[in-house]
């Protein structure tokens, strides 16, 4: 071991900058993607599978808005698949943070003079970029099965902003889960298990009009339904029998309210958990 470098006295370090801290940690989370190609592949295969399953296996026998037409269903389906896929992004932040915690990285970050929220922000924004890529793959998939944007560019743009906003909100839930569990395996199942009923009792795949009466309000007020309906609305796709309640009439507003509420609540909880957490 060489010792040719002599060190100066400790310099006084500049104050931490929340933006720089977060950007460095976003950089870190993006840098690892090309080095974990398997993660990228599996992250996109699952939503593609859902598209194929519902478009061609179930699609023919699911009725939307009173018609059994398969191409109508496929156009209806994509808004739901987009919303469901983005909801499932919870697993990326929960697994990522649980992994960091197990490897002692969270401890190390907590011992550094950085802003409190920057580690989770870095993770959430990095995962948002990854999920935007997944969404792009989904859009290509949608075009392949006959989904089209039938409105204008502005409305479609708002639809995708809502999808990304929803992902951002869900990633904070994942962050809280990742910091609360003790292993990567648990983080993976705890991140997903509750999303299955949540995404199926919604208007993602079927028209809630055909659900039992007591279940319909749950499906209508479900945040995933709100986002799915907002996307269908904004892209000019078939929406099914939506009825005339508040969720049916103001899906865009409701989606934005959900996004803001979930982000506010869970970012607060996750940062609080981060400060109190210990790995070993």
């Amino acid at each position: 071991m060489s010792d040719t470098v002599t060190e100066a006295a400790a310099p006084s370090l500049p104050r931490s900058n929340p933006v720089t801290d977060s950007l460095v940690l976003v950089w870190r989370n993006l840098k690892r993607l090309p080095r974990q190609p398997d993660m990228v592949v599996y992250g996109t295969i699952q939503p593609i599978m859902f598209v194929v399953l519902f478009a061609y296996v179930f699609g023919g026998s699911i009725s939307v808005g009173g018609t059994n037409d398969a191409s109508t269903y496929r156009e209806f389906l994509m808004g739901g698949i987009f919303a469901q896929t983005m909801a499932f992004s919870v697993a990326s932040s929960s697994v990522g943070l649980a992994d960091d915690m197990n490897k002692g990285l969270i401890d190390r970050f907590r011992s550094l003079p950085i802003t409190r929220g920057s580690v989770i922000t870095g993770r959430v924004v990095g995962d948002l970029a990854f999920n935007a890529f997944v969404l792009l793959v989904m859009v290509a998939c949608g075009f392949a099965v006959g989904w089209r944007i039938r409105s204008n560019l502005w409305e479609a743009g708002l639809a995708f902003l809502i999808l990304l906003g929803f992902t951002f909100a869900m990633l904070w839930i994942g962050a809280l889960i990742g910091l609360s569990v003790r292993s990567v395996e648990v983080a993976s199942s705890a991140g997903l298990i509750w999303l299955f009923p949540l995404s199926f009792i919604s208007s993602c795949f079927v028209d809630p009009a055909y659900m039992p009466d007591w279940m319909q309000p749950i499906a209508e007020w479900n945040p995933i339904s709100a986002v799915a309906l907002a996307v269908r609305d904004l892209c000019g796709n078939p929406v099914g029998n939506v009825g005339d309640g508040f969720p049916a009439e103001h899906p865009v507003l409701l989606s934005i309210l959900y996004i803001v509420a979930i982000t506010a609540l869970f970012s607060w909880l996750a940062v609080r958990k981060y400060q109190r957490t210990t790995a070993h």
Binding site: M1, S2, D107
Partner: protein, 327 residues
């Protein structure tokens, strides 16, 4: 002003019957530019102490100051002044060695160019230049530890905490890491390290604090502690039990100290103040006295000996190191 000043530190994990008293009125003072080893078995409270000092854990009682700054009142100031390298190599295995160091440099607030230069400097210092651009997951255990330690040094910390820096390393990697740590100490850093090995404390530390059940039960230089424990010991097993008294006298004369006698195994034990020189004198004396020797040897004090002497119990795991309930 001591670099590290800890008074009456207390920390309990959990509550009720499940609770574990991890720190119990722990006092510790480390002068600047010195090396202190916290020596103790698993669960003694070593890691908890380091975690409190590194601002990762809030104590229930007592105060802890680093370079005059209270760890609970001014955690951000403390974080700027210290470096921490834990038992687990806390590096991002998907990043290369260079990228890891650059990232830590940036997070310590170094400008990008300075972080870049400092990373290159440390990679050279820690003999990682060839592996610099490989993802850290391809590194050996020793390389990961060196990278982890380098990460703690990026921002020229004035105080360095090393939590069991060589646990799990093979002897060669351990010696290499010791060399690196000694270099850092020569550069004027204050070091607090925890270890389960007396040998390691001996090799690196100016002063040793023996810790058990969350408090310091003895402290001093390595020599002082060994003197307390009895330093190196000579053990002799003689052939003829009737000659025990003669052997005891010879041994006492040669070693110039009290001699313990175990009659059943015909064993005599004495302190070897001059190590092998004492051993030679003892053999000569016993030979002159005509005592037949079955077995004779020099035994270095181990952590077990230190513990046995200081606490009356062996250095077993005294409490689970669980901090899962910490919140």
């Amino acid at each position: 002003m001591p670099a590290i000043d800890v008074a009456g530190l207390g920390k309990t994990f959990g509550s009720g019957k499940q609770s574990v008293r991890a720190l119990d009125n722990l006092d510790l003072s480390v002068p600047e530019r010195t090396v202190t080893a916290l020596l103790g078995p698993n669960g003694a409270g070593k890691t908890t102490t380091v975690r409190v000092l590194a601002t990762l854990l809030r104590p229930d009682q007592g105060t802890a100051r680093v370079l005059g700054h209270d760890v609970t009142q001014e955690p951000d100031t403390v974080r700027r002044l210290v470096g921490l390298s834990g038992q687990f190599s806390a590096i991002d295995e998907n990043l290369t060695g260079y990228e890891n160091l650059w990232m830590f440099g940036r997070l310590y607030g170094l400008p990008s160019s300075e972080a870049r230069q400092r990373s290159r400097e440390l990679l050279e210092l820690f003999d990682l230049v060839e592996a610099a651009d490989r993802p850290a997951k391809t590194y050996s255990g020793g390389m990961k530890r060196r990278l982890d330690l380098a990460g703690a040094l990026v921002a020229h910390p004035r105080v360095l905490f090393l939590d069991e820096p060589t646990t799990g390393l093979d002897p060669k990697s351990r010696l290499e890491l010791w060399g690196v740590i000694r270099d850092r100490v020569e550069q004027g850093v204050t070091l607090l390290l925890t270890t389960q090995y007396l040998e390691e404390a001996d090799a690196l530390a100016d002063s040793i604090a023996v810790i058990d059940h969350g408090s310091v039960i003895a402290s001093g230089t390595s020599d002082e502690l060994k003197r307390d424990v009895g330093g190196e010991r000579i053990e002799v097993v003689i052939h003829d039990p009737t000659r025990l008294d003669v052997a005891r006298e010879s041994l006492a004369r040669a070693a110039d100290c009290d001699v313990d006698v175990d009659e059943r195994p015909r064993r005599l034990t004495a302190t070897a103040r001059d190590g092998s020189d004492t051993l030679v004198r003892v053999i000569r004396e016993l030979d002159t006295a005509g005592v037949d020797i079955d077995d004779i040897g020099l035994h270095r004090p181990t952590l077990d000996d230190v513990f046995l002497t200081l606490t009356g119990h062996l250095a077993e795991e005294s409490a689970p190191q669980s901090e899962e309930v910490a919140s």
